[in-house]
């Protein structure tokens, strides 16, 4: 098969219920490089598509712990080590007084890593994506639900896949160039 210049095949569905059924069917048929494109997260699609959970949490935990360590080191080093600071009878490093800033830096680094980690895992931002070539794909952010089967899928076959997507109710089934 020469699929080198093809990105995949995209079909349109008109409701959350129909994309859900379509996802189940396409997975049952044995396709693996499949994704749904929806205007809002449709509950249960990740299970229907057998997509694993997000690993974002681990990234955030690492950055949160970094925030805690940075805050503690900063306050200990500046006020108790580099320039010992005796103010209003409190010891230079008093852990009680470090809680607010430690908490804030933990939240700051965790939050930043949650946002940029999410975009990183999603390989965003990107300037273009082949799927935008589909004629009605602009409705994926409005009121239509799309199913894509990528050309890299081992079961991918232009004619067969198009016919299959049409048979499960897909409209505007189009072969998308790379």
């Amino acid at each position: 098969m020469s699929n080198t210049n093809k990105w995949g095949i995209v079909a349109e569905f008109d409701s959350a219920a129909s994309i859900y059924q379509a996802c189940k069917k396409v997975i049952e048929k044995g396709y693996t490089r499949v994704d749904a494109h929806t205007p809002f997260p449709v509950h249960g699609l990740d299970k229907a598509l057998r997509q694993g959970p997000s690993h974002l949490g681990w990234i955030v935990v690492c950055f949160g712990l970094t925030g805690i360590c940075v805050a503690q080191l900063m306050m200990w080093w500046t006020n108790a080590f580099d320039y010992r600071f005796w103010v209003s009878g409190k010891t230079p490093y008093a852990w009680e007084t470090t809680i607010p800033i430690t908490f804030e830096l933990m939240v700051l680094l965790s939050g930043i890593s949650a946002v940029f980690g999410m975009f990183g895992l999603n390989r965003l931002p990107r300037l273009h994506h082949p799927i935008f070539r589909h004629k009605t794909f602009h409705r994926a952010s409005d009121d239509r639900f799309f199913l894509s089967v990528e050309a890299t899928d081992p079961k991918f076959d232009t004619n067969e896949t198009v016919a299959f997507l049409q048979s499960i109710g897909g409209q505007h089934v189009e072969v998308i160039e790379e």
């Binding site: 859900y20 997509q51 900063m74 306050m75 804030e104 009121d143």
Partner: protein
């Protein structure tokens, strides 16, 4: 503008009221919300924007005058060293809290009605924190050495004192602003993609490029949504303790000092409740006109306003409890300075400010015990203005009445604001409304993808007759 008739039917307590009224589907929801930004700019917008810009320019002029002259242009003077700037700071930062409460805490509690008001409330948060941030920055006097509050090496070879609550505040407010802005942006991305696609379809190339740049190439992939929803959940989980910490730390500015009237342990919860109260007041002040002028009745329904009114009633009463408890503790402590401070607060030279505070914050929300009042936008709007006024006076009362009668009667004084104080405060509204009007004009004012997600059609089992099994 088309007139929309709204039928206010009594709720059936056995059935949740629909979050989107009328015969709306996904297409019409997109059309309503995107329509706000796409239609011709209404003349009223130009008028309001003109006024806001004028006030913003006035703010710039006031800040310039302050920096070139010195903080003596304000009314702050011994014994009242902390005057309007801190009052305005706490006022604005408190307003921000409702946005985070709606976007984070109501999200964690699965309160789906938040979806139609969270976007505008988060925008309100960000603009309120911007307005708040100005006051501590400019009140330092020599603003050119403001970097001394950050742990960067300076010419004195000294580090900031990390035991000072004022420095905690620097970290709290800057973290709060950053996280709120990121949270808002994450929510915006799918909706900016909607705007991008619509602009592309309509052939508006420049708009499509601009919206596209900020939409980051979002194409609604389910793999992306999985990470996206996780990020949203994490941000909500982080923002919930964050919002409580920010106003607690603001209250530490007062409570850590040893001054009668400030040195009390009730301050953190009392400040947080007041902040949420004032924020929801401002949400109503902004959303009731926006709902009317932009034709959003079917998305921001009377049930939404009803819910906000209930939160106002709750938090207003909590604030009232705190006012009463302060008096009880002052009496129970047996400390005569503490007792004098509170008698002075209610009956001293600022009795009028105390009376405005109590009548606006504690008495006026009690109207919301009545359902008809909670569902009357005009009544809600008027009370929301009272709440804004009352909460400003709360901060004025806390700050000024604790300072104006010092320990020695010879140093007693009476604080009067100068014209510069007043114009600077009015100018901060210019900044806030300029930003908010720009937001209303160019960005999705409601969270399009989230509103769609709470509609019955969004359920993948919708229309298969097995709806009931999934509720």
């Amino acid at each position: 503008m088309t007139a929309i008739t709204v039928i206010d039917e009594p709720e059936n307590p056995l059935r949740r009221a629909p979050l989107v009224e009328g015969n709306n589907d996904f297409t019409s929801v997109t059309d309503i919300i995107a329509g706000v930004a796409e239609k011709k700019t209404p003349r009223g917008w130009y008028l309001m924007f003109g006024i806001s810009i004028a006030l913003l320019l006035n703010l710039g002029a006031m800040i310039g005058y302050l920096i070139f002259t010195g903080v003596g242009v304000w009314g702050n003077n011994i014994p009242v060293g902390w005057g309007w700037p801190i009052v305005n700071f706490v006022f604005w930062i408190g307003i921000g809290h409702a946005g985070t409460l709606i976007s984070a805490i109501l999200f964690l509690f699965r309160q789906k009605w938040r979806t139609s008001i969270n976007r505008a409330s988060e925008a309100m948060t960000i603009f309120a924190v911007m307005a708040a941030g100005i006051f501590p920055a400019i009140h330092v006097g020599r603003i050119w050495v403001i970097y001394w509050v950050f742990p960067v090496p300076n010419q004195m070879s000294m580090w900031p004192n990390f035991k000072s609550p004022l420095l905690w505040d620097v970290f709290a407010v800057s973290t709060y602003f950053t996280i709120s802005a990121l949270f808002w942006f994450v929510g915006l991305v799918p909706d900016l993609a909607t705007f991008r696609d619509r602009a592309m379809k309509a052939g508006r190339k420049v708009a499509a490029k601009l919206y596209g740049a900020f939409a980051f190439g979002w194409h609604g992939s389910n793999r992306h949504w999985v990470n996206y929803e996780k990020a949203y959940l994490i941000l909500a989980a982080l923002s919930t303790p964050l919002v409580l910490s920010v106003h607690s730390i603001v209250s530490f500015d007062f409570a850590i000092s040893l001054l009668p009237g400030w040195h009390t342990t009730i301050f953190p919860p009392y400040f947080v409740a007041g902040a949420i109260f004032s924020g929801f007041g401002m949400v109503l002040t902004l959303m009731i006109p926006a709902r009317k002028w932009l034709g959003l009745h079917q998305l921001i329904t009377l049930n939404h306003l009803d819910n906000i009114a209930k939160i106002l009633l709750l938090t207003g009463t909590m604030v009232g409890y705190a006012y009463a408890m302060e008096f009880f503790i002052a009496w129970y402590s047996g400390v005569e300075y503490e007792q004098f401070c509170f008698i002075n607060r209610a009956t001293g030279p600022y009795w009028w400010a105390y009376a405005i505070m109590v009548s606006c914050n504690v008495i006026s929300p009690q109207l919301f015990w009545f359902r008809a009042m909670r569902r009357n936008p005009m009544v809600l709007f008027i009370i929301s203005i009272f709440v804004n006024i009352g909460m400003w006076f709360e901060r004025f009362v806390i700050t000024v009445t604790s300072l104006n009668r010092d320990f020695l009667p010879s140093s007693w004084g009476y604080f009067t604001p100068t014209l510069i104080d007043i114009l600077t405060y009015v100018g901060s509204f210019g900044l806030f409304f300029t930003m908010f009007l720009l937001f209303c004009r160019f960005l999705p004012i409601l969270a399009i993808s989230e509103v769609k997600g709470v509609m019955p059609q969004a359920n993948p089992h919708h229309g298969h007759g097995d709806d009931a099994a999934h509720h």
